[in-house]
């Protein structure tokens, strides 16, 4: 179970990487992709100024057996989406922390980063789920 230490996490199994310049990159964790199985479809939000609230579902991922909403880990606007992903959704299974990234968001409330789980806390949380 891969849980990179330089990322932050949510209980809904999203990871967040804080980039320079006030943006964050978001994806789903190794645990999430394992639970889902082969991912065959992903719907990403549109780039734009619409404000998305923390915990709001803003994308969804579909595997053969299940559909899973992705929830915004922070409040913000969508600056960029991974255009390659809809053509090769399996990247989310193969490289959940690399080529499988979903969106880049511009952060509105910096304090929301503090509410995210550290790698250590996320690992503990996942171990409890097993």
């Amino acid at each position: 179970m891969e849980i990179p230490s330089n990322l932050r996490y949510t209980k809904e199994h999203e990871w967040v990487r804080v980039d320079d310049g006030g943006t964050v990159t978001i994806g789903i964790t190794d645990y999430a992709q394992k639970q889902l199985g082969d991912i065959v479809f992903v719907e990403l939000p549109e780039v734009g100024d619409t404000l998305i609230s923390k915990d709001e579902p803003f994308a969804f991922v579909e595997s053969v057996k299940a559909v899973s909403d992705i929830f915004a880990p922070v409040t913000g606007t969508v600056k960029e989406v991974n255009d390659e992903l809809p053509n090769s959704p399996e990247a989310m299974n193969e490289e959940p922390y690399g080529d499988g990234w979903l969106v880049i968001m511009e952060l509105v409330h910096k304090h929301e980063l503090d509410e995210l789980l550290s790698a250590v806390d996320y690992e503990a949380y996942v171990n409890e789920l097993a």
Binding site: G37, V64, V67
Partner: protein, 359 residues
């Protein structure tokens, strides 16, 4: 939950286990798409021991089969098998089955796991003591060997497999023990189903894995079992069939041979044959998977429902089977997927035919 005789093999192989019809079953091992491809290209093994087996024996067995099952069991020579249905009095379906005629007076009926108890009671209660009816589900383990290399693999353990014609069956010896082999399956590929004694199951399973290694054999879970049968548009009870759906609405006209007035539901079936009100269609959806229960819309008006839907690894897109009002299909079709109307295109079934793909 019930466990099949092969349960420990699946757990040892690291399979993800799920509950299905009261059984703890493997849904996937290496992944649904990987397993699906293994069956289409090489050969896969399925543990389907959760399915039920009912045996009818005696001089009256054929007559009982002719009364209780929709296909014509009298046409079955010993050593042949046929797909069939158990109709109810209203012309709906109790279960879909395969009937294997092992001998003149011996029929083995393979039934769905979810209906095993119901089917046994139905057959026993309606046999009117004309033949012996025995539930042999617990005696058998059932291993399906499916794919273009299935004959190659099974032939290494059972030489008789290479000469067995499609929809034929035979009693054979497998590694020194009695078994029944049939050239039937639920994947749209060539393949066999092997009924072995429960105590022999893991030995046979492991031998097949070993002999099949150079052929690319894989164990296959219920996830890929569903994507395979769906591509081939094979019905699944509870989806395309249930007690209120007529076989004539789901393309199973060919199974219902109305040459025996004593057949259960004969009058209702004869009426439905004249004017079935619904039909099964295939749907191709671009965005997201249209799953069972989604409404199908023609020009915004609901005309039916998706009975089964999934991602098709062979076509590389989402496919669905839907039951819709006959004559209601227009050029402007959509499926309601979680509140959004997704455009869909109607297509002929099946989505996949062995040796090539359609759709």
């Amino acid at each position: 939950m019930n466990k099949t005789p092969l349960h420990a093999c699946h757990v040892a192989a690291g399979a993800r286990m799920v509950e299905f019809a009261g059984w703890d079953m493997p849904v996937q091992y290496s992944g649904v798409v990987d397993e699906h491809r293994a069956v289409r290209e090489n050969v896969g093994l399925f543990d389907v021991s959760h399915m039920g087996e009912v045996e009818l024996t005696g001089a009256g067995a054929e007559s009982v089969c002719c009364r209780l099952f929709a296909n014509d069991a009298a046409k079955l020579a010993p050593g042949k098998a046929q797909y069939s249905l158990i109709p109810n009095d209203e012309g709906g379906v109790v279960d879909d089955i395969i009937v294997y005629r092992l001998a003149e007076e011996r029929f083995l009926v393979c039934v769905n796991a979810s209906n095993a108890a119901k089917d046994f009671e139905w057959i026993r209660d309606r046999s009117a003591d004309e033949c012996t009816v025995v539930d042999r589900s617990n005696e058998f383990a059932l291993i399906a060997v499916q794919g273009p290399k299935a004959e190659n693999l099974l032939g290494r353990l059972v030489p008789a497999a290479t000469d067995l014609a499609r929809f034929s069956c035979a009693e054979v010896m497998v590694s020194g023990h009695e078994a029944i082999i049939a050239r039937t399956g639920y994947t749209g590929e060539d393949g066999f189903e092997l009924f072995v004694e429960a105590a022999r199951a893991s030995q046979v399973w492991n031998e097949l894995l070993e002999h099949g290694d150079p052929l690319g054999v894989r164990p296959i879970g219920l996830g890929a079992r569903d994507t395979l049968r769906l591509e081939a548009a094979l019905p699944l009870y509870g989806h395309e069939l249930d007690d209120s759906i007529s076989p004539f609405e789901v393309g199973l006209d060919w199974v219902v041979k109305l040459n025996r007035p004593q057949m259960t539901g004969y009058e209702a079936l004869a009426r439905a044959k004249k004017s079935p009100s619904r039909a099964l269609i295939g749907l191709l959806v671009d965005k997201g998977i249209a799953r069972e229960g989604c409404s199908v819309l023609a020009s915004g008006i609901r005309i039916g429902v998706v009975t089964s839907g999934t991602h098709s690894p062979t076509l590389g897109r989402a496919v669905a089977i839907a039951l819709v009002d006959r004559g209601a299909v227009t050029d402007d079709l959509a499926v309601d997927v979680r509140g959004k109307a997704r455009p869909a295109k109607a297509t002929d079934l099946p989505f996949y035919v062995r040796g090539g793909s359609t759709g």
